[in-house]
């Protein structure tokens, strides 16, 4: 039995596979949150139910991204599913998890650091030699997923749980800069003549896409899926900026996705 999804080289089967490492990881995350929430010192602050729901949704997103079939298809068969994993683990789950933390918890990650860490990880984890080397082993694949999650937390922390909230205008710049930076890997993936990754080029076929089409689809997903997440966040940012200006004295410094008023 395998504990984490990795490239196997065997023909794809729709028969369910168990990955106990994924259950352990997701269970530990949910369990530690549940245990912490039961402690007297845990003060969720206002809208605690929304916070818990947000954390639960984040854990659920991670579980979907890591477990069979998404995890198995993404780690060894289809590059576009691998991209779906990346979007879920690095862009969707982290803001949900961070929003689930108690209101008083602040993470002093500087925006420059968050941006640099995230985009360095994006480039490194889409580098062909690294992808092919790591996805072949369960440990490598596990490391990949953890790095994505950590990079996603570093990226979202200055927006969702900042020690010093940025001005909404800066938040928008932060998000728009990321949209632009994600364009680089998108261009390489979408317009490459030959497949980059041996993992997906030499994988037993699943579905009608050729390896070149699969890679193109991955690039488009990075652009469109990543764009949807980042543009939505930018929209929220502008909306909250407008709300803050309308309801109170101008200042425009609050965390994005804050569940407190």
């Amino acid at each position: 039995m395998r504990w984490w999804c990795a490239a196997q080289g065997a023909a794809w089967s729709w028969q369910w596979q168990a990955y106990p490492g994924v259950w352990l990881f997701v269970g530990a995350l949910a369990g530690s949150y549940w245990l912490a929430a039961a402690r007297p010192w845990y003060d969720a602050g206002p809208r605690w139910l929304l916070r818990k729901a947000s954390f639960g949704l984040g854990v659920l997103t991670l579980w979907i991204a890591l477990d069979w079939p998404v995890g198995a298809l993404g780690s060894g068969y289809l590059a576009w599913v691998h991209m779906v994993q990346f979007l879920l683990i690095a862009l969707v789950a982290p803001p949900l998890l961070l929003t689930g933390l108690p209101a008083r918890v602040r993470l002093p990650v500087r925006p420059g650091v968050g941006l640099a860490v995230f985009h360095t990880v994006v480039v490194a984890t889409h580098w062909p030699a690294i992808v092919d080397g790591m996805m072949a082993t369960q440990t490598g694949s596990f490391a990949f997923d953890i790095v994505w999650l950590a990079a996603g937390l570093a990226f979202w922390a200055p927006l969702v749980r900042p020690a010093r909230p940025m001005h909404f205008g800066m938040q928008a710049v932060y998000l728009l800069a990321s949209t632009v930076l994600l364009t680089l890997p998108y261009i390489f993936l979408t317009f490459a003549e030959l497949p980059f990754y041996a993992t997906y080029e030499l994988a037993p076929p699943v579905g009608p896409l050729s390896s070149a089409e699969d890679q193109r689809m991955a690039g488009l997903l990075m652009r469109i899926g990543g764009g949807i997440v980042l543009w939505t966040a930018t929209g929220v940012c502008f909306w909250r900026w407008y709300q803050t200006d309308r309801d109170g004295p101008a200042g425009g410094k609050k965390p994005l996705f804050s569940t407190s008023r």
């Binding site: 080289g9 023909a11 003060d43 602040r106 082993t137 369960q138 440990t139 041996a198 076929p205």
Partner: protein
Amino acid sequence: MKTPRQVRFPRVMAALFALVAAVAASACGPASESDSEAVGGGFDRTEGRAGLRGLELDRPLPVEPFTLTGIELTGTEPVAFDFPDDVSDKLALFFFGFTNCPDICPVQMAVLSQALSNLSHAERSRVRVVFASVDPERDTPEQIRQWLDTFDRRFIGLRDDLDSVNAVQVALGLPPSVMSPGGEPGHATPVVAVYGDSVRAMYPMGVRQTDWRHDLPIMISRAAGDGNGG
């Protein structure tokens, strides 16, 4: 009033990244030979004496003329495939497999067909891809034609009795196919490159489009010449 609780996130992050980097360093690289084959990591891309990335033979292996029953390109009627007449002055790429093969056969055919699609029309017209079934009991002419058409309608399909197909495999330097106890045929995985009536190179599982793209023009030009190059 409670003060915001600050977690020293950068330190936590640094520790986490260090841990993951250590794990990654130990994991970077296939853990086993089967893992290595899973991602084609075992294929050596160093060019040989003849400038090919494929596995070059030390000396060209001459192939005696042979005839097998083939399937017409636009239908399923049987036609004779004569070697070397049907591939003279061309690069012939032979592959032996079966249409129900779940992994190696479709991967080899897909990689090859995509590499061929990058050639110019003139270059493409100088290549013949020949697929011979090692499972003639189950592979009907219709099945073979349909399967090959998913890759390239110009791929030639051969279906003859297994003994005849095995004799050709041996002539091309491959081991004969054998039926496993489970009823699945075991077969050699390389694509065999033949020009000038001789086997010149083999392309095992793990060869990528970039390798074919490097080698095909070289072999095509040699096949169009006197056929003795390499």
